[in-house]
């Protein structure tokens, strides 16, 4: 589903990614772990198409297509989703309105019929119930006045409703208490299916106790320097990132 080949990327002339190789197949869940500043978030932004990153070498193929040639909204409509580490507050725009527009924008792109208000509410109700999101949270402006946990839950709600093929979760566990962590993980696990893939980016093992990955990779100094099974996460938790150059920072 996703093939990253020898990806080099720079921000403001500084090379952050120095040859990342990663293949994610449908049905798989991968985790990328690594010390701070290793390029984890950069990778997630490049996959979702944020401006300001220059790809100097390499490519990203998504379902065989050159992902970098697509605009962020096109990537989203093609099934790529990024759960933000820091979800953005948008005052004056209701959460429901935002969600509905997001859903229908994707449907328009794919040539599907748009959902009307009633159909949309039906879909929404189902998901909010599962994720324990109150109606009141939907009636508020997007992420405005939300607690850290509410913001992350709102990200998972968006993911559940947009139903992506490839979900990238960027430090989704940061700022979550145990209960919220469970809700968020359950939301992610529900998405798991043979035709979907998940990429979890995290500093800590904590989230991976709930979302159990098939593969764990260590990203350090702009490269994937080690890959393994889920047991690698526990090893990292125990030994830290010192041997991966974190000490050099």
């Amino acid at each position: 589903m996703l093939k990253i080949k020898n990806l080099h990327a720079t921000v403001d002339g500084k090379e952050i990614l120095k040859g990342v190789n990663l293949t994610i197949n449908a049905g798989e869940c991968h985790a990328i772990m690594g010390p701070n500043g290793s390029g984890k978030s950069t990778l997630s932004y490049i996959i979702s198409g944020r401006d300001g990153y220059e790809i100097s070498e390499g490519e990203i193929l998504y379902e065989g297509k050159d992902l970098c040639a697509l605009k962020p909204e096109e990537r989203a409509a093609e099934g790529v989703f990024l759960a933000f580490q820091y979800p953005v507050e948008i005052p004056g725009v209701l959460n429901t309105t935002f969600l509905k527009e997001a859903v229908n924008s994707g449907r328009r792109y794919r040539g599907e019929e748009e959902l009307d208000a009633l159909e949309f509410i039906k879909v929404l109700r189902l998901k909010t119930k599962e994720l324990g999101i109150s109606d009141e949270m939907l009636k508020r402006a997007v992420n405005v006045g939300f607690s850290g946990g509410e913001k992350k839950r709102n990200e998972i709600l968006q993911m559940a409703i947009l139903n992506p093929k490839l979900a990238v979760l960027d430090e989704t566990d940061s700022g979550l208490d145990i209960d919220a962590l469970k809700v968020v993980s359950d939301g992610v696990n529900q998405l798991r299916s043979p035709d979907k893939a998940i990429l979890v980016i995290t500093h800590y093992q904590r989230l991976l106790d709930h979302i159990i990955p098939d593969y764990v990779h260590v990203l350090a100094e702009g490269k994937i320097c080690r890959s393994g099974g889920k047991e690698l996460a526990s090893e990292l938790e125990k030994n830290g990132y010192a041997e991966y150059g974190a000490a050099a920072e």
């Binding site: 979702s48 198409g49 944020r50 401006d51 605009k71 962020p72 909204e73 990537r75 989203a76 409509a77 989703f81 990024l82 933000f84 979800p87 953005v88 948008i90 005052p91 004056g92 725009v93 209701l94 309105t97 935002f98 509905k100 527009e101 997001a102 859903v103 229908n104 924008s105 994707g106 792109y109 208000a117 402006a141 968006q158 947009l162």
Partner: protein, 447 residues
Amino acid sequence: MDKITNLFTEKLAETRKFLPGSNLGWLNLSRDAGIQDFSRSGMPTQRWESWKYTRLPDISKDSFRCIEKQDGEKEVVSVPSLFKLADLEAKLVFVNGFLRSDLSKLEKLSDGVRIGTVVDMLQSDPSFVQKHLPKTSKEKVSPLVSLNAAFWETGIVLHVRPGLKLKKPIEIVHLSGMTNKPLMRHSRNIMIIESGSEATIIEHHGGLSAGKYLTNAVTDIELSNSATMRHYTIQAESRDSVHLATSNVNVGKDGKYHSFGLSMGAALSRCETNLRLIGQGAGCGVSGVYMMRGREHCDNTTVIEHIAANTTSREVFKGVLDDEARGVFQGRIIVHKNAQKTDGYQLSKALLISDGAEMNAKPELEIYADDVKCSHGATTGQLDQVALFYLRSRGIPEALARNLLIQSFLAEALDEVGDLEVRDAMLNHVIHWLPAHCYLADEWKDS
């Protein structure tokens, strides 16, 4: 005298006998005083501090003429309105300065309210007009007010007797244009809200067609003790027009004046509010939203004087500037020596959505009392790129995402509109102004 003052002096001599109240001695004297004041000052120029960022067009170049009776007889296809006729206390529709009874509603007024044209009032109760028309004083009057004093030919009078709280709003619609030569219309409005009474006014200014005209409106508002007035304005004049509006407001003890102006038209517009909180406990909210594109220029200038103690003022102005549009905000708050416990708040925020757009903001606080709370903020910025990416990463196309963020930006100012129905109507205008608004479904209106 320079060319322009000459031109107007001649024009007054020429048109004086056609102006309303030409048989009234006091009014002729008042017009004389107006033209004399104007001759002394001349047109404002950018050398004046209060006109630093706004340049008036050279009026002498265009052969503007005064309004004539037949200008009022143009066909009107639609009349802007926020409320059904049945939900209005009164509605006055002016076409090129002339009241169109066929489009207005002036019957069945509540007991104790007088509303009509200032021209009719000159017939029925000239002393009322004489009493409330401010005497021109030589130094402080703006040239536009002097010019208006000399030439005013239309306008409305509203008088709400003490203790009368009008439940329904009053709509005043001014439609202009479609004339053989461009018009220069001077309207003079007098609004007297007596003690303990309450009124809501909604003004619409629009063009009948594309084309030039100039409006120079002066509105004098007196709020007596404990009187309340909500004053909403939608300025959607034609793209080539010039819209100049000056409001002079006095607020008495415990009186409350709330205004909100939505500016979205005219090649050049300037709304100037001079407001005096003269009684203890008086308060005001003077806010607005402006949306400009092309080479449009919009100036919001406010001077708020806290004269008595325990007075409050609040200003929130937000604007969106596209293309090469220019915005100006000049907000002056003067706290007089005796105005202890003043609470003043002022915010100006502009969003530039094109590299060619420009904003000039000039907040000024002059504080002569020692126990006051006054804060102000002025920012000019661009669309938040992180927020834009956030929306796009959810599949929302860039154009629509930009619209959403603009709407989001303006929402804070729109919340200053107390009346929810009016707020929604204004939001609707905002949405329709947005580029490529066709993307937006109906439910945007709810947010």
